[in-house]
């Protein structure tokens, strides 16, 4: 009697515009492309909302209403939620309706869909807290399951996340770790006490996410009958089928005319035809099943590419340089005390920026190229590198601004000490503020 657990990843990065060296020092808006290119974030959001989010949410609501046993889960990145609020409140409403059914679990992740765990544990924790707050604010729930960016996972992460109070964590059911063992059980990583690891059944998940419309696939066309039969076949060799995929599978990666919506519409009914089958959310699955063994992820695993490692974001020296560059300024970013600088810095941590710089398969032009809004990985790097220059310059200006204002107040202090001791603080603050305001008006 297998339990079926759906988790959909919902994410949109803030893509950088074509930001050139000439913009450094003048233009501090990095994400506001208004062209027809696929780096126009608002345009993309509307496109994907129309093709995927809105119709798929409507379908999921229909299914939840039709089948009281049906359950699903989502992880919405913080940068996705921000864009949803800004560009498409309608999409937000439709997600809220789903969560209101009580049968939709929301997972936590790093707010900025970042690789922070690899570079700064402090920032990692801060971003999860931000995410938790955001989910609470928009949906009124507090997640107990965690998924890290792109299912990047290792033992240390599991331990870390357990300490933060999470009961379950999501990972890729990578063959090189599982060996002969099945992903259709709950596992636990070495060093953890209770947190349960749910592993993606990548074969069945990818049958839907990647192979569904592939006519060269021997199983094409995939029907809901056939798929639920495959799910049934794991009976005796597992109790939990984890179907984890990008939400954009529906309508965006697999277009409507492939029949993906009809497939999904029929699937819960087919699976529930067998009275022993059921649907669970990740938190429910973690509660229901005990772990059967150890999932020893000594090295990082992820759900990306055939390698299932970090190479999509960190295989060439450009990517490494960019990543080291962005985390190297962490302390200065916070010291600046400038909310806009902090926010921009965080948006620059989104993993997609580094994915766009990946050269692994660039020459073959496969999935990386498909998902890359920049012409080449080099263009992606150059835009990013220029933005890094600019943000460093902004930090420097804040610093020198504060130093010079301090000097001024020192002079002021000498002159005015006997008169206005109480208003000293105000005097200190105001010149700096004015300076920033002036600079802002100059640049806009």
């Amino acid at each position: 009697m297998p339990s079926v657990c759906f988790y959909f990843q919902v994410h949109q990065p803030y893509r950088l515009k074509k930001y050139r060296i000439f913009d450094v020092g003048h233009d501090h808006e990095y994400f506001n492309d208004h062209s027809d290119r696929s780096i126009n974030n608002e345009k993309i959001f509307h496109k994907v909302a129309g093709k995927c989010y809105l119709p798929t949410n409507a379908l999921m609501l229909e299914l939840l209403n039709k089948h009281p046993e049906f359950k699903i889960s989502y992880s919405l990145s913080g940068v996705f939620m921000d864009q949803m609020e800004e560009y498409s409140p309608e999409t937000l409403k439709s997600f809220q309706k789903l969560v209101d059914t009580g049968r939709v679990e929301i997972l936590d992740e790093t707010y900025h869909h970042s690789l922070a765990f690899l570079y700064s544990k402090e920032e990692f924790v801060r971003q999860i807290e931000l995410h938790r707050d955001k989910v609470k604010k928009l949906f009124g729930v507090t997640p107990t399951t965690f998924r890290n960016t792109e299912l990047i996972y290792n033992n240390e992460l599991a331990v870390y996340v357990e300490k933060m109070g999470y009961k379950a964590i999501i990972a890729e059911g990578a063959d090189h770790i599982l060996g002969w063992r099945s992903p259709n059980f709950i596992y636990r990583s070495p060093g953890t006490k209770k947190i349960k690891t749910l592993l993606k059944n990548y074969k069945l998940s990818d049958d839907i996410a990647f192979r569904f419309s592939s006519r060269s696939w021997s199983e094409w066309p995939l029907t809901s009958e056939k798929f639920s039969q495959w799910v049934g076949e794991i009976n005796g060799n597992g109790n939990l089928v984890n179907l984890f995929m990008d939400y954009e599978t529906f309508g965006e990666h697999q277009w409507e005319d492939t029949g993906i919506f009809d497939f999904m519409r029929a699937l819960p009914g087919e699976i529930l035809k067998h009275p022993d089958n059921e649907f669970l959310t990740p938190a429910e699955a973690a509660k229901k099943y005990e772990s059967v063994g150890e999932f020893d992820a000594h090295n990082f695993v992820s759900w990306a590419d055939v390698e299932r490692d970090l190479s999509a974001w960190r295989s060439n020296t450009m990517q490494k340089e960019a990543l080291e560059g962005i985390y190297a300024i962490e302390a200065d970013v916070f010291a600046s005390g400038d909310a806009k600088i902090i926010s921009d810095w965080r948006r620059l941590q989104t993993s997609d920026h580094f994915y766009y710089m990946c050269t692994k398969w660039f020459a073959d032009g496969d999935v990386h190229k498909y998902f890359n809004p920049y012409e080449t990985p080099y263009e992606a790097f150059i835009a990013y590198n220029n933005v890094l220059h600019d943000i460093r310059m902004r930090i420097e200006r804040r610093k020198s601004g504060r130093v010079s204002s301090k000097k001024k107040t020192a002079v002021v202090k000498k002159k005015k000490t006997p008169l206005v001791k109480s208003s000293k603080k105000k005097v200190v603050v105001s010149p700096a503020k004015k300076k920033v305001a002036k600079r802002k008006s100059k640049t806009t």
Binding site: I21, N316, M318, A363, T376, F381, I382, N386
Partner: protein, 400 residues
Amino acid sequence: MFGWEFPPHNSGGLGVACYGLTRSLSRRNVSVIFVLPKRIVGLHHDFLHIVFANIRNLKVRSVKSLIHPYITSDQYDDYLLKTPEKDLYGLNLFDEVRRYGLQARILASEEPHDVIHAHDWLSFRAGIEAKRTSGKPLIVHVHATEFDRTAGHPNQYIYEEERRGLHAADCIVAVSQHTKNVIVEHYGIKPEQVMVVHNGINYEEFRHDLPKVLQDVKAEGKRIVLFVGRITIQKGADYFIKVAKRVLEFDPNVLFIISGSGDMEHQIVRLALDVGISDKVVFAGFVRGDELLKLYRAADLYVMPSVSEPFGLTALEALANGTPILVSRQSGVSEVITHALKADFWDVDDMADKIVNVVSSRGLQQTLGELGSKDVEQVTWEKAAGKCMQIYDDIVRRAD
């Protein structure tokens, strides 16, 4: 095969291309009779034998002539004045081309052959005459057109010569899709008559360690951006200066080296002076062999801002040395190399943006260099020769 120049006495990519192609063809057991014009002034008669000592199946015939590749009509007149009277043949460049064509007739009747393969316009007439004599199929190989060389302002006579050759040919080979487009667009040729055979490179010959002296220069932190090519309107040398000016506004620590000579040289020197960057631009003159390899190795980036570049072998040579390249989108080499920066030659800002980033980012420079030099390994003369063989076979079969 009618060619025009050969290393080490070449002045451009044509000689390198003919050499690479001929060598790979000979390895495939194709016998090549290579016909070369022999310039009278200052040329060793024996160099061909030295060059070809290690190539089997090759016979070289030379013909006395004043012509050499990239010659202009004015230059020919200049040569004419300096040449001893007894060596004079044609009254001007065009007469000389015609005279050379007539000599090809004699050659064609003396040397048995299956196909005639003529490289670029100066040899087209010779190819046509040879075909008229022997009746064998003619392949014309286009390494550059008059439109490329003059950036869109062709000399009418040369254009006519090219057109005649293209229309007389049984098959046309273009060194790139870019060149094929030019041929189709400007010469009234149907696309299906033109085969694209990209040039190649023996990358191993270009891999050497950086000499100590240049290592020291680089250790000082100076960044080097290199231009190699004839200083002509085609190669976009003026854009190189404009880009240099723009780059220096952001990074004064960059040195721009121009290697080559050409009819725009004085103009370019002036331009560098006028925009106030003459201290950052070094004119290295025409450099070849080891010296050139050293330059490639020393450079942080090789830039080829050609207005119209049929192929662009020097970019491959730079890349074989692990030096990243920034090439004009209007070039053949951009068709065969993935790991390169590409820009429109007129987009000075875009090129400057890319240059500033390469010289300031080790990560970008290293990734481009490493992956680019792997790309180069795939661009071989063996591949080019293989395609030519295929064309020979097809054309001979069709003729039978």
